[in-house]
Symmetry: C2
C-alpha cells in the first residue's frame, strides 16, 4: 500500500487466523509490518471469528510471536457474544458448548453460567476441539430444556494444526439442529453489525468508518464486513482465499495482497 | 384477572394467532375484552411472529373482526425485520422470500429491494403460503451469490385455514440450509430482544417492563419473551398449548387462562 493511500487510513481492523498467524506460526513479515503501522500512529485492533479463545490467550500468543498487543486491542467473537449477552439478557443463565476461552469471556462479562443444562435460557455454541459426546449431549439437554441457541460464528471449517480443514462451529450447530430441531437465533461472528460495532469501539471513538481498513483472508467475513460498513478492505492471500476467488464474490476488496506485509511498501 | 391484579398493569402486549383470532375467526370474547381493557386506560400493542403480513393487513383484519386498532399498535416480525435492516445495514439491497406483506414493510422502511437475487446482500425469509419452486430457487440464487440469511421467525408449523399444522418458516429455511449449506445469521421473532424493544417502543416511552403483561398462546415465544424481559405473562389455552404443557417449560406463566376473555373478570 502506497504511503499516500496509507495516509487515508486511521484505523486497521486485522483478522488473525490466516492473516497474522497460522496456528502457532507467524506469517512472514507480519510482526515488522504491524510494528511499522504502529510507529506511523495507526490504531490497530484484531478482529477474529474465533469463539473458543479468550482475549488473554490470543494476546499471549501474539506477544509470544513478537507482536506487541494488549487485550483491549483484541476482539474475538467470544468477547462480543459475552458483551451482547450482558447487555441484552442481563441475568439470564447460559450454558456454554466450547472451550474454556469462551467461559472466561462470559465470566469476565458477568454472564451467569447455569449449573445444569436444563436451567439455561441460552446455549452458546462455539468451536470445541476436544469435544466429547457427553458435552455435546449436555448442549442437547439445554436445548431440549428450552434454551435458545446463539452461535459465536457459523464457519464450516477451520484449519487444524497441520493446516487441513477441520470441522468448525457449523458442525456443532448441525448436531444440535439435527437432534433437537432448533436453529440458532443469532450468529455473532463477522460480518455482523455486532462485530463491526465492537471493532470500532475498540479502535476508539474518534475513528471514522471511511478511514478504517479491514485486512483479512476471508471474502465472506472480512471483506463483507468492511464493505457492508463503508470501510476500505484488503484481502490477503495467505489464508483460505486465492486470487481467482477474490474476483468472484459480490463484495470486491479494494486491495488484494500477497500478505499483510504489503500493507507497508 | 382480578381488578387488583389488573391495576398493576399499564401495558398489554398481545399475541394475535391463537390469542385474538384463528385466521379469519375471532376468538370468543376477545373484542369485548380488548374494548374493556382500552376503556380502563390500558395501552395495548399486538405483537406477532408473522412475517408475511404487513401492519396494514393485520389492522384491516382486526377492524373487520370488530377490534378497533391502528397500525401503530401492531408489531409484526416483518415490521421489526424491516426496521432492523434500515438501522443496521442502511442501503444494503435485500431479496425477500415471502408474501407481499413483507415487501410492503421493507418498502415502507426504505429498505432497498435488489433487482436480481445475485445483487442482494441479505435474503429475508418468511412464510410464503403460495410458494413456487421458482421463488424458492431465486432465494437459493441469492444465497449462492453471497447473501446472508435473516429469518423473520423460525416457527416450525403454523395453523392453516382449517386449523391443521402447516409448514412454516423453518421449512423455508430448511430448504435453503439443505441446498446452500448456510444457516440464518439472525432470527428476528419472539422471544428476541428486537421484538421486546419494538413492543415497548410501540407502547410508548413511559411504560415500565414490570407493569407490562404479555398475553399469548406460545410458551416458547410469548411466555419466554415476557419472562426474559421482566414482564408479567398470561398463557391462553385457545392456541397451541394445553394446560399440561404450561407446567412443563422453563418459563412458567404467571397466569393460565382459558382465553383472553379471562383478562377482565
Amino acid at each position: 500500500m502506497s504511503q499516500s493511500h496509507l495516509a487515508e487510513i486511521d484505523g486497521l481492523i486485522i483478522d488473525l487466523d490466516g492473516t497474522v498467524f497460522h496456528g502457532s506460526r507467524l506469517i512472514e513479515g507480519a510482526a515488522e509490518t504491524i510494528a511499522r503501522l504502529t510507529a506511523f500512529g495507526k490504531r490497530i485492533v484484531y478482529l477474529s471469528n474465533r469463539g473458543n479463545l479468550s482475549r488473554r490467550e490470543v494476546c499471549d500468543r501474539l506477544n509470544g510471536l513478537g507482536v506487541p498487543a494488549v487485550p483491549e486491542q483484541i476482539v474475538m467473537s467470544s468477547t462480543v457474544t459475552a458483551g451482547f449477552m450482558r447487555r441484552t439478557y442481563p441475568g439470564s443463565p447460559v450454558w456454554a458448548l466450547g472451550e474454556q476461552g469462551l467461559r472466561d469471556e462470559l465470566e469476565e462479562a458477568g454472564v451467569p453460567l447455569a449449573d445444569r443444562p436444563e436451567q439455561a435460557d441460552w446455549l452458546i455454541v462455539t468451536l470445541h476441539e476436544s469435544l466429547t459426546y457427553r458435552e455435546l449431549n449436555d448442549a442437547f439437554r439445554a436445548v431440549r430444556g428450552g434454551a435458545r441457541i446463539i452461535a459465536t460464528n457459523s464457519d464450516k471449517t477451520v484449519p487444524d494444526a497441520s493446516g487441513a480443514a477441520a470441522i468448525d462451529v457449523a458442525g456443532m450447530i448441525g448436531a444440535l439442529t439435527g437432534a433437537a430441531g432448533r436453529l440458532p437465533d443469532l450468529v455473532v461472528g463477522k460480518p455482523s453489525w455486532l462485530m463491526a460495532e465492537a471493532a470500532l469501539a475498540a479502535l476508539g471513538g474518534g475513528v471514522e468508518r471511511g478511514r478504517c481498513l479491514v485486512i483479512g483472508d476471508s471474502m465472506e467475513s472480512d471483506i463483507a464486513l468492511g464493505r457492508l460498513f463503508g470501510m476500505k478492505t484488503a484481502l490477503v492471500l495467505t489464508g483460505s482465499t486465492t486470487r481467482e476467488m477474490a474476483g468472484v464474490g459480490k463484495h470486491k476488496p479494494d486491495y488484494v495482497w500477497e500478505s499483510i506485509a504489503d500493507a507497508v511498501m
